[in-house]
Symmetry: C2
Subunit: 535 residues, 2 copies
């Protein structure tokens, strides 16, 4: 069916395949029409515009060795043709490419078609199906149908769970986001307590989801296993450290992502991917069977696509809370007065930390609420400055992380990635006196925050802005981390529950709103947030 | 970017999405240009021609609920436009569609554009990326990176294995292709012996691959879990019962598929998907930890993309054979004389059973070989007629399958699929006297075949023809099964090794050639077949 291909088109196709094989970025750039309407799409999403496509290529690396086994050419007009080709990969499996090719000079929008240059075919739109993969190893470490069956029948019957690779899963080792750690890790006989609670309520384990190394990062960029896709915006980072759990849920591969939240590791990916995310009250859900990062702040949390499923996971895991709560299991049901006794306040210091577009969108969201929402200054509640909380969190977290993993890291030089290795190195370099002071202050500061929020619920954007772009450099990401942990430190230092709800859209990307309340208000927060997001 | 869409196009797109949602096959048929050059492709391959696309739709079932969140329209000429759309699925995740739309009347090839009918937009080419899946549950039951780590370092370092869901895998139950069986199946502590051999040689388990129910089928069509793709030809069945192992290897998701071969369950999928497949000498590789179907015929076998990897799997699993064989681990290496002492013969009765196109292509393959290959009649070697062997295999296999699984089936009425349930019912209905006679004859017939092949190697097409089409009905498949088992029964009844090598292409689909030799010639067969296929 390739007879009748316009002159030069098959040569251009061959040259394009050669450029792919060589990962010749300049040639690949030149092979696409240099225009804002040029398109390239695959299973991670659609890129529109030559610049977006070029940036993607730079981050992707090359294409695996392949040859075209079938080429279908459909001339459409003079200088315009559709080419559909089947590729056979050297490592097995087939791919499919659909390309709309246009010859230079047939429109006036291209570069490189000056006089003297022969007309050239370029791609105006491409849709690519790559080599088949057993599964997305950036999202999962293992997955099954199910990977682990439920242990009983209950309210979570039929629900699937993506378990962050820090929890014990029977029949599997704990990987902690590091391949060296995984290789030495013993196979677990029993599930972690928080995993067992879900299995006992009828849920099955769909799989073990990737995490940032030892959960000590907020981006989702794992240098060993790659970066899971942000299911909401393909050009942005997924958020971490519960990265795989979040991506799996956002992509519809599981319904409940169980994660951990020390300094924001549930709230940040929830915000970045437009999910519901709950960090539970510190100590309210057992951490037995969970690899620690910083026990003073570590909490169990979940990521879901709806408030109802989040409530169901919570009720399965915190039966005492459920028993005292209203019988309704639905976030959309009208709650009894006891569910919502506290006043809802927007803390000025937290809103001050967000990007202008987020502040604007958040203000509109607040203004649209029926319930009265007042302003408050944290300082007026006796809460220390956020920079102080962030620093306290940073120092204590660092000391406890070194306690938890320092010996293993010493015994395995070079096993950590650069980013997390640097973070552990920095943790060890903290001034001992400053750390001791922070440790000594933690209980008092926690008590102060808890007193301030005893009868109040705070509402603010979860993080300063949408997820950073995949192409962001380490320096920019560290800046984002500092700004983010200033916001997340309130609940972390307070040991308080915090729900992130997918309320805002900024720059076409999701940003969550966060509700933080007193200890044990986990369920009330989810119900309240669910009602705020009712259409 | 949808401004400037030609009149009627977006309405046609909406109508098409509505037809997809309703799985309105007539409307979907009408939405595509009725021409032989119309194309539709996705991750399972490319279909060309309206008829092929229509047949695919009938077999697929509906599309999951989705809405279009972005639509990019590029008018290309009068009555011609490219539409690229992003879909958001209700269950999470995004898809991508690229469609070339053409308006009726702009070419003369369509139906439905008579006078009085308004011009209508139809799809001339479509490329679809569907909802993200955690993994292909038709191929795998569970998969990991790795699912089970190697237990030692050795010649299989870095190789990944797809384990048929009949073998014990530590940390997982055995599923046997039946969801009810899986739910009741205990988690295994240790790997099956044949799996342990691969792990001890350095291989890791990539995953547990789907099988036909209790391995009692040759098509790969599992009514519970769906049909794995044929990685060579997307419109055809994968073959079974080692279906998932074969598809996983053909698609490049694993390098070694471990299967079982009772009546052809390795040889058939190898032939259908263009793979190397080895059924080992009966009893030569331990079946400890393997769920039986019919122990008199059950053997361990492997599927690979190359003869070298097949040899490596064999050497890891049959050290006694390896130790006595030449030191060379390469099928392409020149073998010592002791590797190839036997004369190579084409048995007339087996070639008589294949489709004419296969016979013709096979004759050309034989003619192109350098080595002398003579004809032979099995009858002249004292081997009973193939119909007799097939019947003997059928009766003894049925009796042993009922012994192995009858009690479980009785205890679980309705748990089996129709096809395999009918096969077990038929097994129970066999005439006891005929079964007793077959059982009594087996040892003698086996001895007769082994004597006939003591110094001979037979060469013939593995199966009668290419894989049946996915759309084939049960009656046609049973006919194919009967013809196939007449061919596979020689090695099964003889308890002999048989290698299927990807040598032939018929109708654009692969067909294997099979070498059968005396007991213990497994390694020599692979080396000999490897040399025959050298380019």
């Amino acid at each position: 069916m390739t007879t009748g291909a316009p002159e030069g088109l098959l040569d251009a196709l061959d040259a394009y395949e050669a450029a792919l094989a060589a990962n010749d970025l300049d040639a690949l750039d030149a092979a696409f029409v240099d225009a804002p309407g040029t398109m390239r799409g695959d299973d991670r999403g659609l890129l529109v515009g030559h610049d977006a496509i070029s940036a993607f290529r730079g981050a992707r690396g090359g294409v695996q060795a392949r040859s075209l086994t079938r080429v279908e050419v459909r001339p459409l007009a003079d200088g315009l043709a559709l080419v559909v080709s089947v590729s056979e990969f050297a490592a097995g499996g087939q791919g499919l490419q659909t390309q709309l090719w246009r010859r230079d000079g047939d429109t006036g929008t291209h570069t490189g078609s000056g006089t003297g240059t022969p007309p050239r075919w370029r791609i105006e739109a491409a849709h690519v199906t790559g080599r088949p993969k057993a599964f997305d190893t950036t999202v999962w470490r293992a997955v099954g149908d199910p990977l682990v069956a439920p242990t009983a029948s209950g309210p979570l019957d039929g629900r699937t769970v993506a378990v962050k690779d820090l929890y014990a899963v029977p029949g599997q080792p704990i990987g902690a986001g590091n391949p060296t750690y995984l290789r030495e890790s013993p196979v677990q006989a029993a599930p972690a307590a928080a995993v067992a609670a879900l299995l006992d309520a009828g849920a099955s384990i769909r799989g073990i989801a990737r995490t940032d190394e030892f959960a000590y990062n907020l981006t989702g960029r794992n240098e060993h296993h790659g970066t899971p896709p942000n299911g909401a915006v393909p050009t942005r980072l997924p958020g971490g450290s519960s990265s795989g759990s979040a991506s799996a849920v956002r992509l519809g591969m599981a319904e409940i992502g169980i994660g951990t939240d020390t300094a924001g590791s549930v709230r940040v990916p929830a915000s970045y991917q437009g999910l519901w995310g709950l960090r539970t009250t510190h100590g309210a859900v057992s951490r037995q069977g969970l690899l620690p990062l910083a026990p003073s702040f570590d909490t169990v949390g979940w990521l879901t696509r709806s408030a109802d499923v989040l409530l169901a996971a919570l009720d399965a895991s915190m039966p005492s809370v459920s028993a005292t709560a209203s019988a309704s299991a639905s976030a959309s049901a009208s709650a009894s007065a006891s569910d919502e006794p506290t006043e809802l306040l927007v803390p000025a210091e937290l809103v001050d930390l967000v990007e202008p577009a987020v502040a604007q969108t958040f203000a509109a969201f607040v203004a649209a609420q029926d319930a009265p929402i007042g302003p408050v200054r944290l300082a007026d509640l006796g809460v220390p400055p956020l920079d102080d909380l962030r620093e306290l969190l940073r120092l204590v977290q660092a000391a406890e992380a070194v306690t938890a993993h320092g010996a293993w890291i010493d015994a395995h030089p070079g096993a950590l990635s650069a980013v997390v290795g640097d973070r552990f190195a920095a943790a060890r370099a903290n001034e001992p006196a400053a750390t001791a002071d922070a440790v000594a202050r933690l209980d008092d500061v926690r008590a102060t925050i808890r007193t301030a929020l005893a009868d109040r619920t705070l509402l603010f954007p979860t993080v300063p802005g949408p997820a950073p772009l995949i192409a962001a450099d380490t320096t920019a990401l560290e800046r984002t981390r500092t700004a983010t942990t200033a916001m997340t430190s309130l609940a972390s230092v307070g040991g308080l529950p915090a729900v992130s709800a997918p309320a805002l859209t900024v720059d076409g990307a999701p940003v969550g709103v966060c509700l933080v309340g007193g200890p044990g208000t986990d369920r009330a927060l989810v119900i309240r947030a669910g009602r705020m997001l009712q259409p």
